[in-house]
């Protein structure tokens, strides 16, 4: 078959067509890869990056503001904050620390929940299993417990700071009440957690704690006016707390449920309210300019 020539004089045989096409194809591939490589040099431009981080992270103010406002986690902060409020000196970082400890506790707590069964037979055994068999088990349990103690300390010191800095005054009264409630919830969280290892220390600590409950006036079978209202060891408030007249399997289960599900949920809700009101009541309360007696209204 003779070589036909096409308009511009190149051979137009089938073989030649093929060769031509393949060459073109090669060109396209080469350019495409170069583009891709170029793109990789600037990751922010890639579609993947832009899909995740909706805004660019330049140094300019707009992006700085956007980086907090548009971010699910950071938009707890306002875009800008009073310059002195960034100092440790004022807030001592205690509110943040408490919240951070809460997150650590939730994280380590969930990990512990993988191994712990809240039954009388298996509770102690699981703690031993954690201590000796589970890799990092002992570290996990220690972290959880010491974080709990740290959180209680942090909550108290946070309250101390808020009071000392007068940050409970108008308009933050309600937020102070929510704060107090959160402190109580923290104490309850720690108290119910104390019983879970089902060892002598926890058992007797909780027994002492709940013995006070039986003395509640009107509701406790040993409190004033309690027996008159027909309170017996089997239907008073202590029984409700323990799910029994002594600290045993039911108490363990109830403590477990309170500790792992009920109180953390309630606490998270109130933390949400607390953070929300911090922002709504004007963000960090200080260090605001001092006022003089004269300047107060009569």
């Amino acid at each position: 078959m003779a070589d036909q020539k096409d308009a511009n004089g190149r051979k137009t045989g089938v073989l030649e067509d093929l060769k031509e096409k393949s060459r073109e194809f090669g060109e396209i591939v080469k350019t495409k890869t170069q583009e891709q490589l170029e793109e990789l040099k600037k990751p922010q431009e890639t579609q993947l990056y832009r899909s995740i981080f909706r805004i660019k992270h330049d140094e300019d103010p707009r992006n700085r503001a956007l980086s907090t406002l548009n971010n699910l986690f950071f938009h707890i902060h306002p875009a800008k904050v009073n310059r002195d409020a960034t100092r440790y000196g004022y807030t001592w970082g205690l509110g943040g620390i408490t919240f951070y400890l809460f997150i650590v506790l939730v994280f380590t707590g969930v990990m512990l929940m993988f191994y712990y069964h809240p039954t009388k037979v298996q509770a102690f055994r699981d703690i031993l299993y954690l201590e000796n068999d589970v890799p990092f088990g002992r570290l996990l349990r220690n972290m959880h417990r010491w974080a709990a103690h740290l959180m209680v300390m942090a909550v108290w010191l946070h309250m101390f700071r808020v009071f000392m800095s007068g940050s409970y005054k108008r308009p933050r009264e309600f937020n102070w009440c929510v704060g107090v409630l959160l402190m109580v919830l923290t104490l309850l969280l720690s108290f119910t957690g104390y019983l879970l290892p089902d060892d002598q220390l926890g058992f007797w600590a909780v027994t002492v704690g709940t013995n006070m409950a039986r003395a509640t006036p009107l509701l406790g079978h040993q409190g004033p006016f309690g027996p008159q209202l027909g309170m017996t060891p089997y239907n008073d408030v202590r029984f409700a707390l323990l799910g029994g007249s002594i600290v045993d399997a039911n108490a363990l289960l109830r403590a477990y449920i309170w500790h792992c599900i009920a109180i953390p949920l309630i606490a998270s809700v109130f933390m949400g309210v607390h953070f929300w009101r911090v922002r709504k009541d004007g963000g960090i309360s200080g260090p605001s300019p001092v006022m003089l007696e004269a300047e107060t209204k009569a």
């Binding site: 875009a79 310059r83 290892p197 002492v208």
Partner: protein, 329 residues
């Protein structure tokens, strides 16, 4: 016997007492630091009050100020980096603590073997300590609820507008002192006693005194009415026949009201005197509504009642001030 430093070390190094020992370090530091800020602001306030001209232009904080500086900084780098640093430091503390000290794990729970002393977790030791002085219903239920409700009521009672958002001692002297007494003076001190002082049998062990489970301590607490020898024999003639056998009890119950009333009046006068001490406090005091004053009085009186009872018990061995068949304080 005293001088048993090992015993003191054992108490301090018990894993679950570490937090209160840490608090013994942290609370004084933070109190000092709070007062440091307060005094700085007070000096500024005094300065401003002395020179009204300055007051008009001053940026009113003790921190360095330059009109050219931005009043508000971006959260992103400036606040967040601080938070990141705080988070890392806390994690470090936590990990070091977790790696060095192990969480306690004692024998499996056994209802038949009581631990001596059986102590509540460290943060409730205050309440457990109060059990020594009050009946469980007061120590276990009334006082904690009053504390919580009291704390919540503070912003609504404190009519003093000053000090809102800055540390000041001079302008909020009463509030600061009330809180310090309530939080540190009572709550933390009682927790410390519950931890360091209360040993086996929940008896009083001075620091460096050996905790001996077999210790026998003789202390007889008597009621106030027993001290005054109330036996109600003069009451017998007055009472109707049916109540005559219970004459003694009724007499005591009636007698008990007197010291309570006396204390109440004394405490109220004392609080009133405190509120009226400075001119400014008088204006604030006058500004408070009836409801605010009544709640303030109630809370402060009950709060003061606790140290008074503790004092009566520890020094004079008085058990109950007012004893009635249904309850006793």
């Amino acid at each position: 016997m005293f001088g048993d430093w090992h015993q003191l070390w054992v108490i301090i190094s018990t894993p679950d007492n570490i937090p209160i020992v840490a608090m013994l370090g942290l609370v004084p530091f933070f109190t000092w630091y709070a007062f440091h800020n307060m005094l700085a602001n007070d000096r500024l306030i005094a300065q401003l009050e002395a020179d009204p001209q300055l007051a008009r232009t001053h940026h009113r904080t003790t921190y360095p100020y330059n009109s050219r500086w931005e009043r508000e900084l971006h959260t992103n780098p400036f606040l967040m980096r601080k938070e990141l640093l705080a988070a890392i430091i806390i994690t470090i503390i936590l990990m070091v603590w977790a790696l060095t000290l192990n969480a306690p794990l004692e024998e499996p729970a056994n209802a038949s073997v009581t631990m001596n002393p059986a102590k509540a977790p460290w943060y409730f030791l205050g309440l457990q300590e109060m059990l020594e002085y009050f009946d469980p219903w007061i120590a276990g239920v009334i006082v904690p609820t009053l504390i919580i409700v009291g704390l919540m009521a503070i912003p609504f009672i404190d009519a003093n507008p000053l000090g809102n958002g800055y540390y000041t001692y001079h302008q909020r002297r009463h509030a600061v002192w009330t809180f310090l007494i309530g939080f540190e003076g009572l709550w933390l001190v009682l927790v410390c006693i519950g931890t360091f002082i209360r040993g086996p049998g929940f008896m009083w062990y001075w620091p460096t005194q050996t905790w001996d489970p077999d210790r026998v301590e003789f202390n007889v607490n008597r009621n106030l009415d027993q001290i005054f020898g109330i036996n109600g024999n003069w009451l017998v003639h007055i009472l109707p026949a049916s109540l005559r056998p219970e004459a003694v009890i009724i007499a005591r119950a009636l007698f008990g009201i007197i010291p309570m009333v006396v204390y109440g009046i004394a405490a109220a006068l004392f609080i009133h005197w405190i509120c009226m001490r400075t001119e400014y406090s008088r204006t604030v005091y006058r500004k408070m509504s009836i409801l605010q004053t009544v709640t303030m009085y109630i809370f402060l009186i009950t709060m003061l009642f606790v140290p008074v009872t503790i004092f009566l018990r520890l020094v004079f061995r008085i058990k109950y001030i007012w004893e009635t068949p249904w309850f006793s304080i």
